[in-house]
């Protein structure tokens, strides 16, 4: 057992209101620099929709992630032979057009326009050419199903749905969508790290945050094509690739990352998980249908004395183990099993989990009354407007069982709380539902609490980062303490 610690995340999609506050918080802190205009380390997509960059989930086109071939997993985008052939040209690079051409507005025109019959307007100006452009695309161009006959209809997750189901999704008055906020998943088996010819990408030992060394990056952009979630971006100005850094300067000082902190719907949870690094390869090679269970099996019980002993042996500080024991992520993923990894079939083992969203409540019209109850208590999951296959493609690796389990449990808890507070459902029915959804009353209360009434400290259990111990590997921490803060980004040094 090779115990490591990983700062992991849960996004509760049932709570996301699609306000994009997270994206703006991130943009204002990290990607308002020159050359980063088009980067959205955090973005919020509407599902069904094609996302950002357009149709990023279609790996036949983008060639991201891993594929199982000849008994082991290989990068889809490159290998040792192909990298020699493609050394001057990466053939799987998304173009600017698949992101969007960044633009601003000619605000000056509002003041300097000649007097005319109409109000002057601020026309869009391309930030690339400096000339007026007709804006064709943006980071959330298909937000709230905008342009749905083109975008929503071409969501790669619609694969495997019947024509009838697809038509239903588009039907007027039955339209349905949910939001899908995305940041870097800080994967356990990151394709971006594996693909980098310069060795510029690395997964931090102490907390598993995946970073790009800006001094080592040589602009190969292999990470851009290898990341199946398209969460590494190339900065044309610095000539280096960049990605979400999970606001590590904030995490190291005990603050939640900016997108977590600013989240209006409080959908985001952050905490430490302990995992067994020795078994990653074995799990990555499992058949598709066993991936989610395999992924879960990597995560170790932080209360198990064996695990604690092994963690100590690996130099994980006691405070981090304590933090792992409080981790809300462990509860969502392991205890309650309602949080699922996105697109586990890419085999990168993402460490950001999603609680799948409930569809609108289904009702049945009986003469003049509208009934929300039917004999089948879980009917609005089985007949949900969002077909289960669609959610399964996103969160279940194509298999519905895990998604259905998570949704049934959520539904059961809603009805349990309804029996308690509204009283139009009998407690007997509620308990029967809990029972059917594999949930106890205590668990239901705990889930309800962490979902609805969670405080800041309950959502974000940030481990002490013990930077002084991480520094010890390369530098004397006392010397570092005395010399840091003087100079610029890198300390002054003798020589050129």
């Amino acid at each position: 057992m090779n115990v490591r610690s990983q700062v992991s995340m849960v996004f509760h999609l049932d709570k996301c209101i699609g306000c994009h506050t997270c994206s703006i918080a991130c943009k204002n802190i990290w990607t308002d620099r020159k050359g980063t205009d088009y980067m959205w380390w955090n973005n919020v997509e509407t599902k069904p929709g094609t996302g950002f960059p357009t149709q990023w989930e279609d790996q036949d086109k983008y060639k991201g992630g891993w594929e199982k071939k000849n008994g082991s997993i290989n990068l889809k985008s490159t290998d040792k032979k192909r990298i020699a052939l493609n050394i001057f040209h990466n053939p799987h690079m998304p173009s600017m057009d698949d992101y969007y051409e960044p633009w601003t507005y000619d605000y000056q025109n509002l003041f300097t326009a000649k007097e005319g019959p109409d109000q002057p307007t601020a026309v869009p100006i391309s930030k690339v050419t400096g000339e007026q452009i007709n804006v064709e695309s943006g980071p959330n161009w298909d937000d709230d199903l905008g342009g749905s006959p083109i975008y929503a209809a071409n969501d790669p997750n619609l694969d495997g749905l019947s024509e009838d189901q697809k038509a239903q999704l588009q039907a007027i008055e039955r339209l349905v969508f949910f939001y899908f906020p995305r940041i870097c998943n800080h994967c356990l088996n990151p394709a971006c790290v594996a693909s980098c010819p310069s060795g510029a990408l690395y997964k931090r030992g102490e907390d598993g945050i995946v970073l790009i060394d800006q001094k080592k990056c040589r602009a190969w952009r292999s990470c851009v094509s290898a990341c199946p979630y398209k969460k590494t971006y190339f900065n044309w100005f610095t000539g280096k690739s960049e990605k979400c850094i999970l606001c590590f300067p904030r995490v190291e000082t005990g603050q939640a990352p900016a997108c977590f902190h600013s989240c209006v719907g409080r959908i985001r949870y952050l905490g430490v998980l302990l995992y067994d690094a020795d078994r990653i390869e074995e799990v990555c090679n499992l058949p598709d249908e066993e991936l989610i269970e395999g992924h879960r099996s990597l995560i170790l019980d932080p209360n198990d004395p064996e695990v604690i002993k092994a963690a100590k042996r690996n130099g994980i500080p006691d405070a981090v183990v304590d933090s792992a024991q409080q981790s809300p992520i462990y509860k969502f993923v392991i205890d309650w099993r309602i949080a699922l990894p996105p697109h586990i079939e890419y085999r990168t083992m993402p460490m950001l989990y999603y609680v799948p969203p409930m569809s609108p409540v289904m009702s049945v019209r009986n003469e003049d009354t509208i009934e929300h109850v039917s004999d089948n208590l879980f009917h609005d999951i089985d007949e949900a407007r969002i077909p289960m296959k669609f959610l399964a493609n996103l969160f279940g690796g194509g298999h519905e069982a895990k998604v259905v389990y998570a949704l049934r449990k959520q539904k059961a808890i809603r009805w349990y709380r309804r029996a308690l507070t509204v009283g139009d459902v009998t407690m007997e029915t509620a308990k029967q539902m809990l029972n059917e959804a594999d949930c106890t009353v205590d668990e239901a209360e705990a889930i309800y609490r962490l979902t609805s009434l969670c405080t800041f400290e309950e959502r974000f259990v940030i481990p002490p980062s013990h930077r002084e111990e991480a520094i010890e590997m390369s530098q004397d921490p006392h010397e570092r303490r005395q010399s840091t803060g003087f100079g610029f980004l890198a300390g002054p040094r003798r020589g050129l």
Partner: protein, 296 residues
Amino acid sequence: MIGIGNTLSGSRRVERRRSVQQVGVFAIIAAFPLAARGQETAAYFKQNCYSCHTIGGGRLVGPDLKDVTSRKDRDWIVRFILNPQAMIDRGDPYATRILGEARGVVMPPVAGLSRDRANQILDMIEAESAFEKSQFEGVKFSDRPFTAADVDRGHALFTGRAKFKNSGPPCMSCHTVRGLTLLGGGRLGVDLTKVSERIGGRKPLSAWLVSPATVTMQPVFAKHPLEAEEILPLVAYFEHSAKQAGDDDSVAPLTFFLVGLAGMVLMLGLFDVVWKNRFRGVRRPLVAGGEMRTSV
């Protein structure tokens, strides 16, 4: 140079001393650098001047230098050899005349030449002119008529199929001759198609090849000189090529351009095949397809 100057002034001071013994001893020591200087000047002349000039051997590319100091005053000559092009540009009548005699071949600037060095050379030319038969009368080459085998061997040497004995680089790496191959030779040096006419025939061309004196070629061939049995076939080849080319003076860059264009088209086609599964963009085709569907 500084070293020589010091020895000279030292020897003069020594000569003033009247001690007979000392004079004898020091005269030997002093004579040594004087002799060394003479040898050095001769070597310099051989290296830099001899490929175009003889002393009493007749005209090569440049004029025969026998009694040159009596034809024109020393000061003018020194100024000319220090910067020939400047004198011509200034329209000096004598310089223009000798340019005409050399069929327009301008004397190249000589590496390492200084006013002192020029005077030393002129001293030496004066001395050599006095002899009936100067050591710089010119290299003797066989004047047997060229055969087809000579031309073939010259072609081989030019293209590098046959190697130079002293491992000099083949001519083709910098020069071209019309009709050589499809793409011709190098374009770094001048086109050598008509070189034998330009330089003035077999004798000057042969002399020139003994130690090529241009700024670019000298450093290369000083260490790897051509042998007499290599010069002959090369000259044969150059004469042959000049005859072949006839009166047409134009270089034909069109072939080069067309071959390049065809190569480019071929390579682009090859790239397209090799990378036929490359990423070609998603959003634009998607939107174009979508619009078609909605309009139907």
